[in-house]
Amino acid sequence: MSTSTLPDRPSAAGDASSRFFRPRGRRPHRGRGGSGKSGGRRDRRDRRDRKSTALTVAMALMLGYTLLPLVWLMFGVTKSNEGLLSSRGLWFADDFNLFDNIHDVFTYEDGIYLRWFANNLLYSVVGAGGAAMIATLGGYALAKFEFAGRRLMFALVLGAISIPGTALAVPTYLLFSDVGIVNTPWAVILPSLASPFGLYLMRVYAADAVPDAMLEAARMDGAGELRIFFTISLRLLAPGFVTVLLFALVATWNNYFLPLIVLNDPNWFPLTVGLNRWNGQANGGSVAGSTAIYPILLTGSLLAIVPLIVAFLFLQRFWQSGLSAGGVKQ
């Protein structure tokens, strides 16, 4: 909901995952850290498994609310343009056009959708992966090393989160244009590497997850700082890293405003910008442009959502344990 020039800027009430990593006074449960599936927890579950039908029904209503648009979308992708215009939203049209629509998505404008998809993968993997790595290094540095100016750095980084994306769009464009990277993948990837939010998360997380005593012991043994980081600290930071990575992944996958401004060539568009361009075409607004592409637009939207949902489901074990591990440190 914010314009998010930077993928990791918090949006809406969102991105508050950090609250898990916030140390809150005493932490009596260090022993249970890590897996998040502590023994005591399971006991509590077992003790209170009297199921409530009323509660389940109430929650089902909420589930209906969150799934409604997605169900609508799934019916939508089975319809032709005429079908969309003439049928009920939550049921099939007379014709079943799903496979034609999928075919059309991948062939429309010489199959540019696939290209957009590949771009998205590139931006997300490099952008989110890099952002998570850089944030981990930076957060670790802030938490574990007393270096000059670190408080100032941290304050500046946090303050920068509140500046609207639109403020940065034009200056970013002009700066990148001077350097000559406008309309290249770098224009999208470079800014998404800076994740003030990930830095914040990792600082709080690293403060607790990596015991100072362990670092001291390693140093006594004569291990270099790099070696300590890669052999000891990184492993301890892994759950936090995965969590930051996933949220950075969402941010880069759904990044819209910055690519919209810094990219001209449709061959470099990510899915969000490409889909919105199709939406512009579908909604005409201008003279010669209009084409009947609603079905393509809807099908393209659905296909754009699927990878993230799959990623979340597939990585559920990892990121939920990351969240819980963070949660233990309250």
Binding site: V182, I261, N264, D265, G285, S286, V287, T291
Partner: protein
Amino acid sequence: MNAKSSIAGRLGSRRSTSMTAAVTVAALALSLAACGSDSKSDDDKGGKQADPSAVAGALDQPAEITFWSWVPNIDRTVALFEKKYPKVHVKLVNVGQSKDEYTKLQAALKAGSGAPDVAQIEYYALPQFAITKQLVNLADFGAASLRDKFASSAWSQVNVAGGIYGVPQDTGPMAMFYRKDVLDKLGATPPKTWAEVAELGKKIKAADPANFVTYLDPGDAGQANSLIWQQGGKPYQVSGESSAAVKLKDDPGAAKWAATWGPMLADKTVESTPSWNEEWWKSMGAGKYALWLAGAWAPAVMQKNLPQGAGQWAVAPMPTGDGAPGSAENGGSSVAVTKQAKNKAASVAFATWLNSDPEAVKSLNSDVGLFPATRLLLDDPTFRGADLPYFPGTKPNEVFAQMSGAVRPEWQYLPFQVYANSIFKDTIGQVYKPGGDLPGALSTWQERITTFGKEQGFTMK
């Protein structure tokens, strides 16, 4: 310069209906030589000192031209060009439609690099780029000779800020599309005057309160501007390069427009609705609006989006106050060459070929579906008499060509029309409702545009 180039122009155009592009380019080069000596433009030297033969031969040299356009299927016409001039490669890029493209173009031009050589720009946006000197003045390349090739309503729209900043590509002389089936059911005939439109609205309303005679779009400044223009309005006036006036409040055409549409809004015979979205297409298909007042580009769009409407719709001249023919342009665009163009001669030659070569303009019309800006087709009996299967048994092009000739002259857009149009929904859009105060909103709109103009350093009269 005028006298000389117009002779060259006339010589060129009289025969050019059958001329090949090579000759057209040669004529261009000739007139370039003719006006090069006294051109006062501060255009860069490439334009003034270009050897005529170099311009004529620009397309025979290897060149690479980047062309921004969002028009679907225009690649077919570009392919014809590349076939004809195999040494020139045109990189066609669709960076977005209309305003989206202007945003990018604006940013690239401000940054000093990244802009295309050639760009599609609608008439209403052209002055903004022209007055800030971000486009090549085609007059320096002899484009004045093209004048007689184009409908005067199109030519006057590329003639801005004392230069020629684009080659007209397509036009949208307004006509009235109407649902035969709806009118037949009511026993009505197509309205010829605004009074008859209002009358028809009442009939429709009486038959079914859910239907309307037509609609007004609270987000579409272009629609309102065209309807004001069509009533004889001239609310935007530009003089010189730094002086402009907005007279929406006192313009007689705007007043007529308000007097026509205000009562229909009050009667609820006209609906206020955003257009071009799914819902609107559904309404169009369902016969909710008996009339659609739109540019001559509409048939191409209807065929794509309302294929089932073939045979339901028919075309008639625009209604007017007194029943005498009168129209306005609604949409339409030109092709301009930017200041950042690397090979200006080739870029100009390409833009010219694309929009004036006989082969090209036929392709633009039949392959791309654009309504022509060129007399080559507008005056061509075969074109005017062509059958469009979507409108069986009628000759829609004949009506459009008549409307093109009936476009009221002397309309101008502001050098900041893009902004003016963007705040249309804040002002007029707010009163598109029953009982809405149209004259009041015209003043509000005028005030906000005037304030903006002053802030931009214009002398606002």
